[in-house]
Assembly symmetry: C2
Homo-oligomer: 383 residues x 2
């Protein structure tokens, strides 16, 4: 083995951090939050912060915008309140940590932030955070309180999901041609805000979003996206924020229809629901993530008969599936849609779910050569 | 929303499938297996196949090659044996499925193969496979029996892991410059055999392999790989076969040292063990995957003192961790290495584990600006 002693090629000079406009805006929110606390203390008043409530009771479906949004309810966190003091301290720690990241022009992971802020409080055996779950929750609180997405606090989750197709983009200064990304595709980062990812050339006619990596790969291998001039994405199951935001930008900035190919089960329905209307837990992000214009291409409960599938591909619905299906059918955005009610009833009547992979029983490329082309041809989508 | 009716741009003419040399070799093995069965039947003898045993008892550490390898023990699977008939039938189904994939020049996922082969046996209520676990196991059996890796049977797992650095490669005909892959890097496919991935230009001095995506991202954001002229990879925890094979190729074809930055816990030790000596379950793949020359850079149990870390980053060892640490210390390839014995004893004495992320408590970029540069400088690696 050639064993060279590795050495840095060149000493990189420290460049002063360049703040984006968004960074400046976030810093202003952070400073406003801190000033409120300082001012209260100076006036000998009990410091507190207001955090918008993320409880179900403070979330509603906006029928004109057609997505889930957060209401105006807030919870107060006071320093001099035994049950609130810890969360108050944690909130300020997260705010301080975010400010430091922005000042340094760096980002970190949710786990990194947890480690950054975790320490034992001097003179006690009490830790600032006892687990990452605690800091993750406070980070979500601070996003809402500051009106800044996680990305704007310079925090990210791990990459998940991939994209391929007629798009050229610039990611962190590097030009990426998604026409030429080999078998793996462009790995979608968790931060795809315009400061990080700029679209340079988008020549696709639509986006086909599939649930899983394995299905995505079949479409990529069969060069479906070349033949149909489309962008092909997957989100590795429930798509993370980066993937949702990317789809949102492609839809809104480039007028591309978004067609979703998901499993015929409550989980697939729910993925569609989140892509289209937003999620309950992250309702404050709907305006930047929800895509009310998205369409559900399949699988459909009628596909078992329509595609003449064999009984072997049936996966029996569990008690949990049935319960979940009823819950989803009752969501305000599905409740009034006859097509969706029929769809969910169909699955319950079948008594089984169908994964997209089930189509392979008809042939390896049935899904790319028959199923999706037929759906595009007959335009039989659910809204 | 611009709603165009999507239509294929051009009808792709069906091109005849071009078999690679490896495909031809695999087909020969498959046909030999099938011929054996047919010949036995023609001679009115009971058909059977021989499957090399993957049990622990048939695995040994080869001290000269310095990796784990499979022995010569085999298990016979007979058609006319009630306890073996199903596995016999499943083995032939997998072989037939693989042949079909190779003939069609297509690949599928493990799940896809399961769906492809799953059906109810005519005249019975018996399924060929009752779950993907069954087909996955048989696929591993067939890899050993045919002397062909999963990839050579045209089966793949999902993409996992990423790479960035001074490498230009060709993946499925597309040229990928890993110097310019934005924030996400090159998504490492599960198949990186030379037929799929060719290295065009490798200008790095070494490879830094880190355990997790989040750590990888810190190194990428800090442009560590530019400064130290290295390739930066991660495997999302225990690296999947594609990542291990890629590291193997970089090490053996391009003489690059492989340095591993993993957590200081039994899981991190085990990841290193698999990268270096191969895994027990996939011992038959060691010759193509194991990298006896790999080096363990850290974290080390002495880092708590060496780096002057705060108590808050300690994660207490569980009963399970302690048990696992003793098992790992007893592995033949660790048992005779004093350094490793000292390392594992050190962790047990500490009573806690240390994740790489713990270094963030010293500063966001401590790991890229101090920890790893120091280790490269002092060359204090474990073998």
């Amino acid at each position: 083995m050639a064993k060279k002693k590795p050495a840095p090629r060149k000493a990189e000079p420290k460049v002063p951090v360049k703040l984006t406009d968004k960074d400046k805006k976030t810093l202003t929110s952070l400073e406003k939050l801190a000033s409120g606390v300082v001012e209260a203390a100076m006036k000998s008043r009990a410091p507190h912060i207001e955090i918008p409530s993320r409880a179900l009771s403070n979330v509603r479906y906006n029928t004109s915008k057609k997505f889930i949004e957060i209401g105006s309810g807030t919870n107060r966190r006071e320093l001099f309140n035994l049950s609130q003091a810890k969360a108050y301290m944690q909130s300020l720690l997260v705010a301080g940590g975010a400010k430091e990241l922005i000042d340094e022009g760096k980002t970190t992971s949710l786990r990194g932030m947890y480690y950054k802020l975790k320490h034992t409080i001097a003179g006690t055996s009490e830790n600032t955070f006892d687990g990452q779950g605690e800091s993750d929750t406070i980070i979500e609180d601070m996003e809402v309180a500051l009106g800044a997405m996680r990305e704007e606090l310079h925090l990210y989750a791990k990459n998940a999901g991939a994209m391929v197709g007629p798009v050229v983009l610039v990611d962190s200064g590097d030009e990426i041609d998604c026409n030429r990304m080999g078998s793996g595709g462009y790995s979608i980062p968790s931060i795809v805000e315009p400061e990080i990812v700029q679209f340079k050339k988008v020549q696709a006619d639509f986006v086909l979003h599939v649930e899983k990596d394995t299905v995505w790969r079949r479409f990529n291998e069969d060069k479906f996206w070349q033949q149909y001039n489309c962008i092909l994405t997957h989100g590795g199951g429930q798509p993370p924020r980066g993937v949702r935001r990317l789809l949102h930008r492609l839809h809104h900035e480039h007028d591309l229809p978004i067609y979703c190919l998901l499993d015929n089960d409550p989980w697939g329905y729910y993925i569609y629901s989140v892509i289209k209307q937003g999620s309950i837990n992250l309702a404050y992000e709907s305006r930047r993530m929800a895509i009310p214009g998205a369409r559900f291409m399949g699988l459909r409960s009628k596909d078992y008969e329509r595609c003449n599938l064999t009984p072997s591909v049936q996966i029996k619905l569990s008690e949990q599936d049935i319960k979940r299906a009823h819950q989803i059918a009752a969501y305000p955005w599905f409740a009034k849609k006859k097509d969706w009610q029929k769809e969910i009833e169909g699955m319950l009547k079948n008594g089984f779910k169908l994964e997209v992979e089930a189509l392979i029983s008809k042939g390896i490329s049935y899904v790319t050569e028959q199923y999706v082309p037929d759906r595009l041809e007959d335009e039989d989508f659910l809204d």
